[in-house]
């Protein structure tokens, strides 16, 4: 997995997305540009409904874009001639509400990617899956179904299911949203541990500013809809980080700085929402 650190640079160039439900144009993303380096942990924060997920969906190939282009390691994912990027195992998504297949055991969930891609035989993939789950501390529950384990375990398993494919980019859409702060902190350390090992590029959407600064190399604050980059906060806290980082002065100052930018947008989003309702 060592070679991954040199892969996974994302270029988002002048991307615009206009939705057209019921004949009314809604601009979700407006001329947004962002360069994410290979092996970077890029955290995206912004008001609800600002278009963060739209951007993730465009990278993953779930939605098309209206203008602009997105490149992965210099290769075009989507652009004017090809608005929808192809979905592929080089960009694996970890979903907001979790998307482990409930009808497959954890081992079968993790082994799924390599089997369907034809890179491994069934038993080889299962062995590898069992090994990776054990590394993530999930060795005992490999034969259980997702419905039988806690949400924290399920989320870790989902990240293992993504990583077995050696993706260039991990796309995470508020994966720890519904978790209590204790579980969250354990999940953060587990993710950082994975990152330190694989150096996979991470595109991480969140509402939680502390989470954003604790995990990220950069925190990108988006404007209220249509989304543009409002501010980029560089997080120069050295890695490896642990829970003690959370109480450092440096950390606190970065949270303050980000909070100011986000708060401004949150007020705008709130006022816009009020106007729409009025």
């Amino acid at each position: 997995m060592a070679d991954i650190a040199t892969k996974g640079a994302i270029s988002i160039r002048n991307v615009t997305k206009i939705y057209d439900p019921e004949g009314v144009n809604v601009m979700a993303v407006d001329n947004c540009s962002l360069e994410i380096a290979a092996g970077e942990v890029c955290m995206i924060v912004g008001p609800s409904g600002c278009g963060k997920t739209t951007l993730l969906n465009a990278i993953a190939g779930f939605h098309s874009i209206t203008e602009g282009e997105i490149l992965l390691d210099g290769e075009l994912l989507c652009g004017p001639a090809k608005p929808l990027s192809e979905q592929g195992a080089d960009r694996v998504v970890v979903f907001q509400n979790g998307a482990l297949f409930p009808w497959k055991t954890l081992i079968d969930n993790v082994a799924y990617g390599p089997i369907v891609q034809g890179v491994m035989g069934k038993s080889e993939a299962r062995d590898k899956a069992a090994g990776l789950l054990a590394e993530a501390g999930l060795g005992d529950v490999g034969k259980k179904f997702p419905g039988e384990i806690s949400s924290g375990m399920a989320r870790r398993a989902e990240i293992v299911r993504a990583l077995i494919n050696n993706p260039k980019v991990l796309l995470l859409d508020e994966p720890y949203r519904a978790m209590d702060s204790l579980t969250k902190s354990i999940m953060h350390e587990a993710l950082l541990e994975v990152y330190d090992r694989t150096k996979v590029t991470i595109f991480f959407i969140t509402h939680d500013l502390e989470e954003a600064i604790f995990l990220g190399d950069r925190v990108v604050v988006m404007t209220t809809r249509p989304a543009k980059t409002k501010k980029i906060v560089e997080v120069n806290i050295p890695r490896p980080r642990d829970y003690k980082t959370l109480s450092s002065e440096e950390f606190r100052l970065l949270v303050e700085e980000t909070k100011d930018a986000v708060h401004e947008e949150a007020i705008k989003a709130f006022e816009a929402g009020e106007r729409e309702l009025a």
């Binding site: 592929g88 998307a99 297949f101 009808w103 369907v116 891609q117 419905g147 299911r161």
Partner: protein, 292 residues
């Protein structure tokens, strides 16, 4: 260390017969079996009082529970049919055989059709309007057509039962595919699936809960329409037995036929549910953890 040793060990989870026995033992500690027994006793008691006890008008013409059970268990039944006469089993076997054939055809056609309709929008656009036009036609309205189309007595009866359960199965399977969360399709796609993988690993297992709900309804509908068909055209079967005893004023046999039908129908439903639970262990286990 000594303290650790004294801690109780986690027991091995029971399986197979031991599991059934364990579940049965646990259920005896809940009110469920007693309430079930009470419900049945209440029904029989009311039936007895209305018909044989108080002999209320309108009810006094019906055979009461004592009369029915005596006849049912009689080695020498007054009206010709009881647990000890081979004719009784002939009727049951004929009906069960018809249901088995009809249900197998309806499931074999209905599940794949429903899956494809749910999976392929193009196929749904072709087939859905037709399904929705044919589905509301009551099964009894198909009887003359079935008799015209098929020769003999057996095929029309099976055809009618098949048709009724086919519609239920298709519609429920289709709804089952619709019910699958979009994120599973997305997850499968971004893990590198080809369309056939999505079909076998997401569409099929994801729709199973609805499919089996549909199959339970469908087997009920199959019994319903089978009996209707046997009443109209048939020489054997529980439906025929009921209508024949009515014609011959052997009302006791008629009630025996009805109760038998209820019992056999219930068993067939339980069998479908058991197969469903066997195929959806993931769901059974998750629901067990929620105490359901």
């Amino acid at each position: 260390m000594a303290e650790q040793k004294s801690q109780p060990k986690l027991q091995q989870a029971p399986t197979g017969l031991a599991l059934i026995f364990y579940k049965w033992k646990v259920s005896l500690k809940t009110p469920t079996p007693y309430l079930m027994a009470f419900g049945i006793a209440l029904w029989i008691g009311t039936y007895y009082l209305l018909v044989e006890g108080w002999k209320l008008p309108r009810f006094n013409k019906l055979p009461g529970p004592v009369e029915v059970i005596t006849e049912w268990l009689s080695r020498d039944p007054d009206w010709g049919i009881s647990l000890y006469t081979p004719e009784y089993y002939d009727h049951i076997i004929v009906s069960c055989r018809r249901i088995l054939i009809a249900f197998t055809i309806a499931t074999g056609l209905g599940v794949p059709l429903g899956l494809f309709m749910g999976w392929s929008k193009t196929f749904r656009d072709y087939a859905f309007p037709l399904l929705e036009t044919l589905r509301p036609i009551p099964i009894l309205a198909w009887v003359p057509l079935a008799i015209l189309m098929f020769s003999g007595l057996e095929t029309p009866v099976i055809y009618l039962a098949t048709l009724a359960s086919l519609f239920v199965t298709i519609l429920n399977t289709l709804l089952g595919v619709d019910s699958i969360d979009e994120s599973y399709f997305r997850a499968a796609n971004c893990l590198g699936s080809k369309p056939r993988h999505v079909f076998w690993h997401v569409v099929v297992p994801g729709s199973l809960p609805f499919v089996f709900t549909g199959l339970q309804i469908s087997i009920g509908v199959a019994w319903f329409s089978l009996v209707a068909a046997e009443m109209v055209s048939g020489q054997f079967g529980l439906g025929y037995m009921i209508v024949d005893s009515y014609m011959n004023i052997t009302y006791v046999t008629m009630v025996i036929g009805m109760l038998t039908l209820g019992f056999v129908g219930w068993i067939s439903s339980v069998l479908v549910r058991m197969v469903g639970n066997r195929m959806m262990q993931w769901r059974v286990r998750a629901m067990a953890l929620e105490g359901r």
